[in-house]
């Protein structure tokens, strides 16, 4: 039995005093983590890292002159790096878009930094180019209870040198000077950065090595470690030590396995049903997909290289548009249940399997 505190151990009175459990999370943090886990598949280290920082923020223990946290997400495209930030925003603010996203690919030229901080005095556009990272912009999503801002720097490997210098200042001092010389305080920000460096090597490892292997990855207990090491090595080669030293945590996103992609599909289909309920309220209809349709959606919407990136679009085009057309033509009304199957010619078959409520249909 190793020494040190055991997670979840009950508190005990000893002669020296009461034993405390420093691994326990508060109720708000538990709820936050549960929300993330219900929506994100296969990326537990990322969720744990964010939860830990959130707990520190709630406890008021974050360092006053640094951002609340600096997280670097590494991994292949379609593995859910940006999605995690969206889910965090949804958990905290009820809105998956409640964060500031800076697409570093848009700042590849030195002068483009003006879009972020505004033009400096003496330059054309001074006081006319609105800065993206202002104090007002940072507090846009603040609520009475939560004064926290999520900032995402996407694809940082594409950033210009000017943006790198700016980023180093933000990560270290939580401070930014705008073109009009005003200062922006980022100490209440959780900074996320994403990068694809090392992604191709990670995918090769996950697919089973060099060659043309297209088989699903075999369970390999050492594989995750090798993928993590590969990504971290690539990041250390690409990014400067000054940058790496300013990070609180580097999280490597794994390529999703087939069973995890199935879970993602179930989540996405549930989201479509939620959308229908949210859009039309009590007078909604329900739908369900046969296993053949689910397999078809997985085949069309996922692949080893792009993960689940195209899954949403494939569901939108093949399920959502079809359902909307049925509603438009009055074939589906409130209370109906639609079963979606696969026809022998490969097309989708929409069948009304139940009608609980009679409702007016109109085709205007």
């Amino acid at each position: 039995m190793p020494n040190g505190p055991q997670p979840g151990a009950s508190l005990a009175e000893t002669a020296e005093g009461q034993t405390l459990d420093a691994t326990r999370h508060g109720e708000a943090t538990h709820e936050f983590e549960a929300f993330l886990r219900a929506k994100v598949v296969g990326q537990d280290p990322a969720l744990e890292a964010v939860t830990e920082l959130y707990q520190i923020f709630l406890a008021g223990m974050a360092s006053p002159d640094r951002p609340i946290g600096n997280l670097l997400f590494l991994g292949p495209t379609g593995s859910g790096k940006t999605y995690v930030v969206e889910v965090v925003a949804e958990a905290l603010f009820g809105n998956p878009h409640a964060f500031i996203k800076i697409d570093c690919a848009e700042f590849q030229e030195h002068h483009e930094i003006a879009k972020l901080i505004g033009s400096p005095p003496g330059y054309i556009g001074h006081l006319q180019t609105p800065a993206l990272l202002t104090q007002e912009a940072l507090s846009r999503f603040h609520t009475d209870k939560l004064k926290l801002t999520l900032v995402l720097f996407d694809e940082i490997e594409k950033a210009s040198e000017a943006l790198w210098q700016l980023l180093l200042g933000i990560l270290d001092k939580a401070s930014l000077t705008l073109g009009d010389n005003s200062h922006v305080d980022l100490s209440q920000c959780l900074i996320f950065m994403t990068s694809n460096v090392g992604a191709s090597q990670m995918v090769t490892l996950a697919e089973g090595g060099i060659g043309f292997a297209t088989l699903p990855p075999i369970a390999d207990i050492g594989l995750d470690d090798r993928i993590t090491r590969t990504a971290l090595d690539a990041a250390r080669r690409k990014f400067s030590p000054e940058f790496m030293n300013r990070l609180d945590k580097v999280v490597v996103f794994k390529t999703l396995r087939p069973e995890q992609l199935e879970q993602v599909l179930e989540l996405e289909l549930a989201k479509v049903q939620q959308r229908i309920i949210r859009a039309v309220g009590q007078s909604h209809f329900t739908f369900r997909c046969t296993p053949e349709v689910k397999q078809w959606l997985l085949k069309e919407g996922t692949d080893p290289k792009y993960g689940a990136r195209h899954l949403k679009r494939v569901i939108e085009r093949n399920i959502v548009y079809g359902l909307a057309n049925l509603v438009a033509t009055g074939q589906v009304t409130s209370g109906d249940c639609v079963s979606i199957g696969l026809r022998s010619d490969g097309g989708f078959a929409f069948t009304k399997v139940a009608s609980q409520l009679s409702a007016e249909s109109s085709a205007g």
């Binding site: 079809g322 009304t333 205007g364």
Partner: protein, 121 residues
Amino acid sequence: MKKILVVDDHEMLCRLVCDILRAEGYHATPATSAAQALKAFEQQEFDLLVTDFRMPGMSGLDLARAVRDRSPQFPVIIMSAYEPVECEHVTLWLPKQYLFPGLLEKIRYCLSATSVEEIAR
């Protein structure tokens, strides 16, 4: 983000269309009558009107006329289960039987065209 006003007295369809448009990156506002739509026009600016043809009270055509009276070049798409009617105030017609993905293509087309004349060409 382009702003689209979607008008249909069939509330479920109206909200579903808005939801799909939002997923496509548009700012979509639902209205379940022409009167509601006109009120929305008074309160904010839109880039495109997508309206049902037959609605109780004011029809989609009358709504298109009212909008074009204020802004002659304003793009209007009418969704209809019926045959198109010749009308100078309508930019494009779309049969409801084939609403999606046709509506998205027509919206992209309307919003990328700079004038009604360009669409007519």
